[in-house]
């Protein structure tokens, strides 16, 4: 599965859905966000069946970022059924994202 770039409507629809969605809040000027790219793409390939993997540009959607209280990019938030199940700020490895998902995804 490819990574989805979310607009307002897609954000509302996907985060409200029953299937969990992982959203990376990112910005074009964010150096660290670029470093996350390869690991995030790999994750989308490996886990595309279990969850949707998406990104949201905080410069294009500042209201969403503010509403979700995003203070640092990249922040990854796992949503399901309209709720944020957990978040992870600037992970230092792909393994950290995998562990976060294991601990946060419902059984």
């Amino acid at each position: 599965m490819a990574i989805l770039d979310l607009n307002r409507e897609q954000f509302d629809a996907l985060t409200g859905a029953d299937q969990p969605v992982l959203v990376e809040f990112w910005a074009p000027w964010c150096t660290y966000c670029r470093r996350l790219g390869p690991a995030y793409e790999r994750l989308a390939q490996q886990r595309g069946e279990e969850l949707a993997v998406a990104r949201l540009n905080i410069d294009e959607q500042p209201q969403i970022a503010e509403h979700e209280q995003i203070e640092v990019v990249p922040t990854l938030v796992l949503y399901q059924g309209g709720k944020a199940l957990g978040s992870l700020v600037a992970p230092e490895s792909k393994a950290m994202i995998d562990t976060f998902l294991q601990e946060t995804l419902p059984e």
């Binding site: 910005a27 000027w29 964010c30 150096t31 660290y32 670029r34 470093r35 996350l36 790219g37 390869p38 690991a39 790999r42 203070e71 640092v72 700020v89 600037a90 992970p91 230092e92 490895s93 792909k94 393994a95 950290m96 995998d98």
Partner: protein
Amino acid sequence: MEHIYDMIIIGGGPGGYTAALYAARAGLDAVVLERLAAGGQMALSHQIDNYPGTEQGVDGFSLAVKMQKQAEAFGAKTELAEVSRADLVANPKVLESSEGTFYAKTVVLATGANPRQLGVAGEQELTGKGVHYCADCDGMFYRGKTVAVVGGGNTAAQDAALLSRIAKQVILIHRRDTLRATKIYHEPLMRAENVSFCWNSVVEQLVQEEGRLTGVVLRDVHTGQSQTVACDGVFVSVGRIPASQLAQGQLELDEGGYIVADETTQTSLPGVYAVGDVRTKALRQVVTAVADGAAAVHTAEGYLVQGGR
């Protein structure tokens, strides 16, 4: 039977991917184990001006992607794996990682370095909530705000200069009374109107309100007097520490934790090489890291030709 690589390179920074390039070109079966993305610390720098052959300077991330592609074009592989444990004495050598166990005849440690922390209470919880280690990465959050930069070297001076173009006010905190930074880095700071200096000062405490940094308490190293400085963020730039945990107890390290190796990159164990920022050396830069990567493969080839003895 498990697969035994000729060479496993831990870390995909400039040192690691240069080793991979030379290894692949020498016909070695080599893989890079990288926990996140190519480039390491280099990928955090938007503008590298001292890497030869790039007259306009080069973006560290783009250079990293090129280094990775070049190594892979000659047959090197990459796994996005974080190595958690290494048995460097065993034959073959055993590396446990988030993506399983790997085996190799030779290992190149190219794990680089990480930012040194201030070592004050609350630092961990406030990281990302007012405490930062990369101005290039997180500076943009402080548009129109007041930030402190701690440190006196080139990176601290560069961070302060960058932040002075974004923030309203920048306070540079340094434990000495002058900057160690090279002239071309500190002159713009002296000229900037919104940069002030707290000399002879160390951060003693982080002040927080509702889980967010609101200021720092500084102590004057001569008088012992404390003062509170209000700020929205603090950028810590007090040096780096080598990522040599995997080698602890197996390889000789110096008192700073660097893996002892000369320019052959040979460590205290046969078949194990240390390249780049993690190795004992005088100058830690991209250009010296890539030189090490080439040297490591040259040294390892000698070892492999003799049947790994």
